[in-house]
Symmetry: D2
Amino acid sequence: MNVGLVGVTGYSGSVLYELLLRHPNVDSVNLYGHSQKVAQSLESVLPQLRRGANILPYDSADIMKNNQMVFFDVSAGVTTELAKPFLDANFPVIDLAGDYRLKSRDAYKKWYKKEAPDEKYLKQSHYGLVDFTSSKGATYVSNPGCYATATILALAPLVINHLIDTTSIVVDAKSGTSGAGKSLSESTHFSQTNENLQLYKVNHHQHIPEIVDQLKDWDEDVPYIQFTTTLLPLTRGIMASCYTKAKSGITEEDVKNAFVQTYSDHTFINATEGVFPTLKQVIGTNFCDIGYQLNPVTHQIVIVSVIDNLLKGAAGQAIQNFNQMFEFKPDAGLDLIPVLP
Amino acid sequence: MNVGLVGVTGYSGSVLYELLLRHPNVDSVNLYGHSQKVAQSLESVLPQLRRGANILPYDSADIMKNNQMVFFDVSAGVTTELAKPFLDANFPVIDLAGDYRLKSRDAYKKWYKKEAPDEKYLKQSHYGLVDFTSSKGATYVSNPGCYATATILALAPLVINHLIDTTSIVVDAKSGTSGAGKSLSESTHFSQTNENLQLYKVNHHQHIPEIVDQLKDWDEDVPYIQFTTTLLPLTRGIMASCYTKAKSGITEEDVKNAFVQTYSDHTFINATEGVFPTLKQVIGTNFCDIGYQLNPVTHQIVIVSVIDNLLKGAAGQAIQNFNQMFEFKPDAGLDLIPVLP
Amino acid sequence: MNVGLVGVTGYSGSVLYELLLRHPNVDSVNLYGHSQKVAQSLESVLPQLRRGANILPYDSADIMKNNQMVFFDVSAGVTTELAKPFLDANFPVIDLAGDYRLKSRDAYKKWYKKEAPDEKYLKQSHYGLVDFTSSKGATYVSNPGCYATATILALAPLVINHLIDTTSIVVDAKSGTSGAGKSLSESTHFSQTNENLQLYKVNHHQHIPEIVDQLKDWDEDVPYIQFTTTLLPLTRGIMASCYTKAKSGITEEDVKNAFVQTYSDHTFINATEGVFPTLKQVIGTNFCDIGYQLNPVTHQIVIVSVIDNLLKGAAGQAIQNFNQMFEFKPDAGLDLIPVLP
Amino acid sequence: MNVGLVGVTGYSGSVLYELLLRHPNVDSVNLYGHSQKVAQSLESVLPQLRRGANILPYDSADIMKNNQMVFFDVSAGVTTELAKPFLDANFPVIDLAGDYRLKSRDAYKKWYKKEAPDEKYLKQSHYGLVDFTSSKGATYVSNPGCYATATILALAPLVINHLIDTTSIVVDAKSGTSGAGKSLSESTHFSQTNENLQLYKVNHHQHIPEIVDQLKDWDEDVPYIQFTTTLLPLTRGIMASCYTKAKSGITEEDVKNAFVQTYSDHTFINATEGVFPTLKQVIGTNFCDIGYQLNPVTHQIVIVSVIDNLLKGAAGQAIQNFNQMFEFKPDAGLDLIPVLP
């Protein structure tokens, strides 16, 4: 199988490329630059990858002709336009950007501050949260956001089983700097980031409506959640520390059952009662590790999830979507070596 | 004025020593080692301080004879015993350890897992949260804990003014490794700490009852709060991210008024609506910077406070207590240069 | 093929285990603990690996019976004794520790401050610097040290081709903390290591005689080199910055030719004139990247090599030795994804 | 005494401002922005300083009228032009930039790639390496570069006493990111700098000719030295690791005598035989700590010096120059608290 990849130069794009090269069901990967007019050697932009490939000029017809599917790993706002011919042709796409994640065009305009995709295209798009939906049969898969993945996976068992007061949900999410990408900015200038914590987009992060859209699928009454993001002085990883009141009468047993039933057969999710994961234990892997505990004094449940933002939070989940789409083995291409220490 | 210092070798102890040496009302500082039998040169244990002083053997009578007051900066559990002669003699003490912070002996035993001080001594002790109480006239001042300081200062205006549902309080506190002191441990081994986040003492941190004791002084109905601590891959600083539901009808104006009224004349506290502090902006100083915002959608108030755990969270507040105790200028000895960048 | 691994719990041991599990010519890996009397689940000591294996008690006969070869990844001083039955039986061993690296027993005693292996065993041992020797036919392979690998690979083309004044060699080597292993120590306590540089073992590092032994094979006149080691505030990687005077008349062309001829067909070495590698570009891989430049003003040649100390500096080179020993593909099991970013 | 400061917004500029505010001989500090047309509040650009001051528009006549002297802490190339009226008026200036450091206009053009100051102005400028020259009587003081300070102080005793083969000098210098200033760049983007080492300006750093100019004052035969710079994943500090061959017959005693005689009465320099300083032990202070050792096997002398690049390497030495210029106490304004831990 030949696959296309538009956007190899970003952090998650290059990780995705390396995963695809090792994927047992992929024969070759063709690279494209979405704003590129002439071919460029990959070596010249990403020498660290030590690959002889070329990044080809962008041409949608060409992409569809030479590949059985294509990944888009570009900035928000780009695929709104670029994806149209693929959507029209029902050509298989996995889109790692945010353009097609939200259900409502208004929400997209409000949170992304960009023109939204057409309603018909939005309807065609499938939100690929692999642990709860299947991309089998989908042609256009919108791969979830990194914060959204970590947060939804932490809260899902409690929301699905209606164990909590959903008006009480508080998420204190933290991310390393790779989530901010390659663009230079003051907040990611080493002298500023190092030995520091910086909050950003408080109450305004575009993953909030994405999280709420999904939670509402399980419980219509879930309101907008309290969600903050803090930039960490480290490169990779997201930790979502979630807090929520258990409903009256809910016991530790109920909470544990919810997590066990929800995740016992999920290859890439490990949920443990009373043991909170460290961030590092998932780096370099596609795992989402979750610790949870009902505090009998406050009757709050603490749920802490950790993921590698470039893997389970981006390229790794994209591979899971790819596996679902084409009915490959669910963990194909994802037997990764953890970064230890 | 001559002051004694028991425990210069710890991280906050050495900072306290440097502050005392520069304090305009201090003539000399005598150092003592609480388990020391013979004098030892400071140079031999802390060459970085470049000071010719000796650490003298411990003798309570000697300390009282040669000093007008004494600071204890030792591990929890030590002053329970050591402080007795000073308490009996009403000799001025500022104690940076936790032994005399809690109001109840039972609580101390439960949270510290150590034998508690006698009731009469506990009564003699004054909890020196300088922004809300005065140590003037006190002889035994128990200096607040680092997490407790950051958290109480963040929540005080809302609790005092009864603006929030106190059963909803959630604190996600983060600390650098200096808070864990000099003792070697797996969680502070560089290869383990670096590029990592580690939760510890979830629901069991000994600063929880200290925080609640103080909040109850303002509102008897405050229950045990939800409080977690996360170890950061950086050396200095604490950030306490606090979340709480505003009571029905409470407006942004009410919240702002509470912070302005509470802190407008506090030299070392800067509280700002809608602007969240970075951790680094207080490092090297005695400031506590606070950002707060009522989220109109969730009706949660986010309050984020930052302090240097060794200064406002330990040695700096101890100097403030010292200034109050002896009626020196409130900011004497605390005009510090921030660590920039 | 079944292989044994003694010492999975150390940093390089667990990396080696992960590499072996993915190696195309390895059927199963049996784990042994060198001081272990009863079996222990790997999960209990290394939960991050998420592997169901057991670590078996140590028994040399058992190891030889159930495996076709064995890796030792234990502390220095252990295989001097443990390896004897394997050496006597000519059973294939790859030893990642330092015990059998030096040619002289006296040198071992002097630099390692331990009893040396017997002369006859030393003679049986092959120094497995894979880029210059082949382990084909060897039974006991001593895998090179991390600093030694980085330094020898940097200097080899110049020493082999007699282009430099070997009395002028200066090596300023730097390493992350993973090289110091899991043992707790003051110098690897996070608050001490972070934002710091610390020299250690200046002129006394045990890799010095190992480097010199090898260089002397190419040029008998090489004297003891000037070599210092500095501990970096990062986890993985070694950079060896080497300086040496070019002999009179040596040109940039001569230097370049030496590197090109020496390394042009070496899969895991990239040497480039005038472009100095960053440390990060090899992390997660088995590559050794080298930059070199003749300074026409000082007539010094600067050579900078970087490796991942746990891969090319330990487990990765061990796999290369394994491949040579059993005539597998030279790069079998080493197609690794770089840690980016 | 009133002093002016042009360029408070840079990293060393803000440190210098804080030092001046605490200096016992300074009454007030007036701030100027060299490209500024209207006044601007300091708070708006540097809120962390918590100072109410204004940055005034630039006007050389105004500066000379309202101050007894002025500091320039601006980018290289700016004072070449700006300083002229001050030089013409013999008005006291301390210039922290590189424009007037080199003796030769040609060297300046070659290394800085900018138009050089006029010959007559260069002659008027005094190179303010405070440990070896005195700025008493000087009107225009050029404050040394950070790398130059660390390197010259390490080598001075050996060069002055003619103990070494000066053709063998190798300097492997390392710096934190604050030396690169506030400008955003790829190499100081957190995801790139973190867990990395990056060489830069190999053989081309503009501090090389500055070092050589000074060494030649002590020994005319000193040639261009071998000097490389490596960017560290930390914010503050420089370590210069220097290597040089001792002349034949030179003993450990000779080397020690040279350091003792040169530095025994220097307040801010601590040189110790056989004990190598850590970087952190000088951070936050004006100290230069030096360790040195003659290796009897290689006959190389290793000299390692560490400074805080913003203090002894910039603002701290500028204060020392200020003290010399106006005959204040040599250590006035420099009793700083080390950053510990």
